[in-house]
């Protein structure tokens, strides 16, 4: 949400066009400095020279990847080793990164390192700061990865491992990483403008407004469902409630420490916070073991939901330094640690997977974990990790203001998303490494499992799943191992992932005695990510709402005006709070009916982002390369619009919101006292209300998205016609300015980059830094 000094339009456009051409031709403005970019012909010839060693390396990667895919998809013995998931994904990512992202770079984006990035020409030492590419990679990754890639693949595991694996790996290479890369690059060329601003510029008032409203609504849904995941993980779990609750005083302490005691000592306070966090997890076990602790922290889901709503409001109006910033440090710290540790554990432990490639539910539309057929619902259930629209908001936020050189966008945008996809694969592996019977007992709604170990075991065994035979004792023992009172119907993905992670980690460090610790460690970090997302999401949504209302009541645009800020915060919290409560009290099992809405919302946002990218791309490339943006857009549009139509029009009550609504309304009209899984009339009325709201939300989302896509296609056609007729297209890029710095593009510098870097290092100290005087 950067504010743009937009005074440089009009007269300067002409000059900038000439400047761009000169920079594109390899013009270097300052002969006293070494070149700011590796010569294009040198880079091209290095790229196109295939030495025997290079050929052998890529042949080996391709071969290993091929063997791994073969093991996963074709062989399918009794079991499959988890290491094949690692090889299949990493080899595919490497090939996608080396070959496909270079196609995008070469033919569509055409970055030019002679141009200064916003971090250089707008450098202010605060928001616009040139950042080392590898550090920025970590920073960007920490901003895009959250609970999403950890939850979606777990829920999708209902259909077996193969559909989810294929979608996560192929989807990220052709869609998710492409979206992140394009948005990051286009935003960088526009001084770090937000997706909303770009939509407004490229798609006009109608498309821009629809994109803005859709984004706002989608954020509400996403925050609500993330909150629902936390509520489900903490409900009736004294240990979880205590340790997650303790993150609040820990963050407050860290905030005060950083503000008053030792300002700027971020690493120090993060370490202190981390130690306190571990103490809170261990202490949680002790507290939950006492009688008073078990009684005091044993909260039902509705209470926790209300607690979260009140917390969300207070957290969003408190100053950032007190709660949000310190918890952000903590969450980033945990994120990197956990992901590295999980990767290590999977590689070391290499669990055997007994889940079939395609489960009995892959060909049906009435699975207990989420309903609907594989197409399109698998593709919306796994959003983050394959294609996540939310990333477009991050890739057009902080990151473009920190990039040092244009060519680094490939590493950070495309590469960063590959990394998130790998997290999703690891989450999938963790979820399928546990027994299938336990998986279904944990993820089906109470209405099916009955809520007790005996009824759950009987229900799971009645499903007739191959190789599944669990006893009530198995379920009770698992609950005991992870330090919970029950694991039956702990839906939402987080508890299942936590059990899977505990299962793998205890083989790595600590043995069964440590399982409870690992379980609550996993719950803790997921809750930490989600609380940060809830808090930040509420703030961003509040600003968007204030700006929108500000168009009618100007006072609302003043962000420091307390009544306006508080009112808008309250509206946003009420919006997601209502959806959250609806999910918590839903007789049909909230997460099971709402999660598809989360995925649809996230991918509609992706469709919006890709639409904007398509409209921009049409101005800079011929029709020939537009498919790079058009293919993922078409896929996302088809998947989400089809899924929305099923949700709106399907006559199957388990799938269609309105069909369900009609069924329950009819039952009420017939005077029935209970219907399906709703055991009381009040529950039946709740279903009628919920399905109506969910149905209308689906309608609003899909209509807004179709408006955005149509306006984008129109803008694309117009741009192509202009190009064909030789007319100029309106250009919204910032004017090109010459760069005065150099840095390598990729993780490892190439030979040419090393030579050039050495030339720059020979400069006397102080030269070669930007000498901008704008303050």
């Amino acid at each position: 949400m950067g504010t743009m000094p937009d005074g440089t339009q009009g007269g300067s456009t002409h000059r900038s066009l000439r400047g761009t051409a000169q920079l594109d031709d390899g013009f270097d403005p300052d002969p006293s400095l070494p070149p700011t970019s590796v010569d294009d012909s040198v880079r091209d010839s290095a790229d196109r020279t295939w030495t025997p060693a290079k050929i052998a390396l890529w042949a080996a990667i391709a071969l290993l990847g091929g063997v791994a895919w073969f093991m996963l998809a074709i062989i399918r013995g009794e079991t499959v080793n988890a290491i094949w998931f690692v090889f299949a994904s990493v080899c595919t990512y490497l090939i996608g990164y080396r070959f496909y992202s270079k196609v995008i770079e070469r033919y569509l984006l055409k970055p030019n390192d002679r141009r200064a990035t916003p971090a250089e020409y707008k450098a202010d030492g605060k928001d616009y700061v040139r950042t080392d590419r590898n550090v920025l990679f970590g920073h960007h990754f920490a901003a895009i990865a959250g609970a999403g890639p950890l939850v979606g693949p777990v829920i999708a595991a209902q259909m077996g491992y193969l559909p989810g694996t294929i979608w996560i790996i192929i989807g990220v290479v052709l869609a998710g990483a492409v979206q992140d890369y394009l948005v990051l690059f286009f935003s960088m060329r526009r001084g770090g403008r937000s997706l909303g601003q770009m939509a407004r510029e490229e798609l006009g008032v109608i498309g821009g407004t629809a994109a803005l409203i859709a984004t706002l609504l989608i954020m509400v849904i996403i925050v609500a469902i993330l909150a629902l995941v936390v509520v489900n993980a903490l409900g009736e779990s004294p240990w979880g409630v205590f340790s997650v609750g303790m993150t609040i005083p820990i963050a407050l302490f860290m905030g005060v420490y950083l503000r008053y005691l030792r300002p700027g000592k971020v690493m120090e306070v993060s370490l202190i916070g981390f130690v306190l966090l571990m103490a809170a997890i261990i202490g949680g076990g002790a507290v939950a073991g006492t009688e008073w602790g078990a009684a005091f922290f044993h909260l039902d889901k509705v209470t926790i939901a209300w607690g979260l709503i009140i917390y969300g409001f207070i957290a969003a109006i408190l100053p950032v330094w007190l709660l949000l910033a310190p918890r952000d440090y903590l969450s980033t710290f945990m994120k990197i640690g956990v992901i590295v540790m999980l990767a290590l554990a999977i590689i070391v432990v290499r669990p055997e997977i007994t889940v079939p490639a395609f489960s009995e539910f892959a060909g049906r539309d009435n699975g207990p974990v989420f309903s609907g057929a594989l197409f399109p619902f698998l593709f919306v259930t796994i959003a983050c990790g394959a294609l996540s629209g939310f990333h477009a908001l991050i890739a057009s936020g902080t990151t473009p203001k920190l990039i040092e050189k244009e060519r680094q966008t490939r590493l950070i945008g495309y590469g960063g998303m590959l990394m998130e996809s790998f997290v999703a694969i690891m989450a999938l592996v963790a979820a399928i490494s546990i027994d299938r019977g336990i998986y279904f007992a944990m993820n089906a709604p109470v209405a099916l499992t009955g809520g007790t170990v005996e009824t759950a075991a009987a229900w799971v065994n009645s499903l007739g799943l191959a190789g599944v035979n669990i006893t009530a004792g198995d379920l009770a023992q698992t609950a005991k191992d992870v330090g919970e009172q029950s694991i039956v119907s702990r839906s939402g993905g987080a508890p299942t992932l936590a059990v899977g992670l505990a299962h793998i980690m205890q083989q790595f460090i600590g043995g069964t005695a440590m399982m409870a610790f690992w379980y609550h460690f996993a719950i803790m970090f997921e809750a930490l990510f989600i609380l940060t997302a809830v808090d930040a999401g509420t703030r961003v949504a509040r600003f968007m709402l204030q700006d929108s209302i500000g168009n009618f009541v100007p006072r609302f645009k003043e962000h420091s005006w307390r009544p306006g800020a508080w009112l808008c915060t309250a509206i946003m919290v009420a919006a997601w709070g209502a959806v959250l409560l609806m999910g918590v009290t839903d007789p049909l099992g909230g997460i099971n009916t709402l999660f598809p809405l989360f995925g649809i919302a996230n991918q509609l946002l992706a469709a919006i982002a890709l639409s904007v990218c398509l409209a921009i791309a049409a101005k800079r490339t011929a029709l020939k390369y537009l498919w790079i943006a058009a293919v993922p857009l078409a896929f996302a549009a088809v998947v989400t619009i089809t899924a929305s139509f099923y949700k709106i029009f399907s006559p199957v009550p388990a799938v269609g919101y309105f069909a369900n609504n009609a069924a329950f309304a009819k039952a009420l009209a017939d005077g029935k006292k209970s219907f399906g899984t709703a055991k009381t009339q009040a529950a039946m009325e709740a279903v009628v209300r919920n399905t109506m709201i969910q149905g209308w939300l689906s309608i609003i989302f899909v209509v807004l998205s179709i408006i955005v896509i149509v306006t984008a296609v129109l803008a694309t056609i117009k741009a192509l016609r202009n190009t064909a007729a030789g007319l100029p297209n309106a250009e919204h890029e910032d004017p090109a300015q010459a760069s005065r710095v150099f840095a390598p593009a990729g993780f490892i510098p190439t030979a040419a980059e090393r030579d050039l870097g050495a030339e720059w290092n020979k400069l006397p100290a102080g030269q070669g830094l930007e000498k901008s005087g704008h303050h």
């Binding site: 030492g125 605060k126 550090v135 993060s270 330094w321 991050i394 930007e770």
Partner: protein
Amino acid sequence: MKAVLAGFRMFAGYIGGVLGADAYKKYLAHHEASGHTVPPLTEREFWRDRTDRQDASPQGRCC
């Protein structure tokens, strides 16, 4: 031992960079390079200003 220590330093420096712990150092470098005549913010002022500006322009965190 020395190599292990150096490796650990590098790792800590990297994590610090990702967290943004070096923001003040970078601000000072920028301040000096751009040849301002006014004195730079003190460390305390800088961090205050940083979080207070986040209040005015929040950044989303991903799901």
